[in-house]
């Protein structure tokens, strides 16, 4: 059995099947056991981080993961990225990083930027988020979190709440679920923030079953996993409609009062006000635990792409 990640680009979670993801999760288990020690499996390798869009969590998480594996890290971010954005084009920056590095992680505000980078670079390219399209490594972390919390991804009942139109993390998680056999998937969002037509077409191609739910209240009693993402004001053409709807998409103690005792709430973070702080202290809150899995999952991915054992 080969390693399907070796030398591969990671553009969309749909590039991988269930077996691939299970292999990744095995490696993540091993990485987690060895978090206390600095490994040297990527010694002498250079991981290049190209973050053209502001990010703290994802960039730090990749940087720590790479360093834990013993790799050196170079990065284009912050002011450099802005100057690059003004002058040099993306293609030329990628060519430079391709020459210096062994693996490139890119985040960019334009959809398709990671795919273009992968076409230009010889090195494997990992998509750290492209516009509103894909965020495959977040989906890997989220699926792994479900696996760790419940012992399985299959058979559970999921509610996905928030911006399913422009939220790349929540849509990537939805795509990731298509590789498993969920018991039920409810898509809960205001009408204008339902998934784009091409996303629904893809789900149909895959024969994936889901249901729209008008409100969280109508499904909260039966779900095991509540995946929350932010509903951004800017996404609404009509501010009045935003004001009218935003209350329906906030998770607080009242919302959760009818939830199953075992319900877990996930969120890709950072959150703003879509999960009330009062939820943090409940056994439902799993988003900080989920975030803590970012480094081991990315360690697993980086080592698999590099063909290194951990």
């Amino acid at each position: 059995m080969g390693n399907p990640f070796r030398g591969a680009d990671v553009i969309s979670i749909l590039d991988f099947n269930r077996g691939d993801l299970e292999l990744l999760f095995e490696y993540a288990d091993r990485a987690q056991k060895r978090l206390g020690t600095k490994l040297d499996v990527l010694k002498g390798r250079v991981v290049a981080l190209a973050f053209f869009e502001p990010s703290t969590r994802t960039r730090f998480s990749f940087e720590v993961a790479a360093k834990r594996l013993g790799a050196d890290v170079i990065s284009v971010s912050g002011e450099e990225a802005i100057s690059v954005a003004k002058g040099e084009n993306l293609a030329d920056t990628i060519r430079m990083l391709d020459a210096y590095g062994d693996l490139i992680v890119i985040r960019h505000k334009h959809e398709g930027a990671a795919k273009l980078a992968a076409e230009i670079a010889e090195d494997p390219v990992v998509n750290g988020g492209d516009g509103w399209q894909h965020h495959p490594t977040q989906a890997m972390i989220d699926l792994y979190a479900v696996l760790k919390l419940f012992g399985t991804v299959d058979g559970l009942r999921y509610a996905l709440l928030g911006d399913l139109k422009y939220g790349r993390a929540i849509v990537s998680f939805l795509y990731g679920l298509t590789r498993f056999k969920p018991g039920a998937v409810y898509l809960v969002s205001p009408e204008p923030l339902r998934p784009r037509r091409e996303v629904l077409m893809k789900l149909e191609e895959l024969g994936f079953r889901y249901e729209f739910a008008a409100s969280l209240d109508s499904v909260i009693e039966e779900v095991d996993v509540l995946y929350v993402s932010r509903v951004q004001k800017e996404r609404f053409p009509d501010p009045a409609e935003y004001e009218r709807l935003k209350g329906s998409y906030v998770v607080n103690l009242k919302t959760l009062s009818r939830a199953r005792p075992g319900l877990k709430v996930l969120h890709p973070l950072p959150r703003v006000d879509e999960i009330a702080l009062e939820v943090d202290a409940t056994p439902h809150a799993a988003y900080f635990y989920q975030a803590s899995l970012g480094v081991p999952v990315r360690m697993a991915l980086l080592s698999l792409i590099s063909g290194a054992e951990i």
Binding site: A91, E111, G112, E198
Partner: protein
């Protein structure tokens, strides 16, 4: 004088694009970049009777032929079209156009933040056909769908 199209129908040498869905002839001309200023003797028939389509449009261009790229453009604008090549008043070949599975550099992605719409990047838009009826393509970079008809 015979009635109808015959006065303008016969061209010595050139191309007849037939079976264009009614009302789409001007889109076909636009796709081909034909404005009339090029000087070709051109006949455009719109909404004429057709056994196959009920109504159809027809374009006849004297002294002009289509290369494969242009035939693809016709297919994208008018998926039912046939292209007849005329020499010495006779039909030399008749080809039903077909929309290709993948088109490169011919369709513009409607998503303004798609990487293919970013200036100064060495990238051509590339689209894959996802449906024939209606004719629909998906951007290979951002996934956005374009319905052509």
């Amino acid at each position: 004088m015979r009635s109808g199209t015959s006065t303008v129908a016969r061209i010595r040498s050139g191309v007849v694009i037939d079976h264009i869905p009614a009302g789409r002839a001007l889109e076909v001309l636009r796709a081909l970049g034909i404005t009339g200023k090029e000087g070709y003797r051109t006949v455009v028939l719109m909404n004429v009777e057709s056994r196959k389509l009920g109504r159809k449009d027809v374009i006849k261009i004297e002294g002009r032929f289509l290369d494969p790229r242009e035939s693809t453009l016709v297919a994208l604008a008018a998926p039912t079209a046939t292209i007849n090549v005329i020499e010495d008043f006779e039909v030399r070949s008749k080809v039903r156009v077909s929309a290709p599975d993948v088109v490169e550099g011919l369709l513009k992605c409607p998503n303004p933040t798609c990487i293919t719409n970013k200036e100064r990047e060495p990238v051509k838009p590339r689209h894959r056909r996802v449906s024939s009826e209606p004719l629909e393509y998906r951007c290979e970079y951002c996934g956005t769908l374009i319905r052509l008809r």
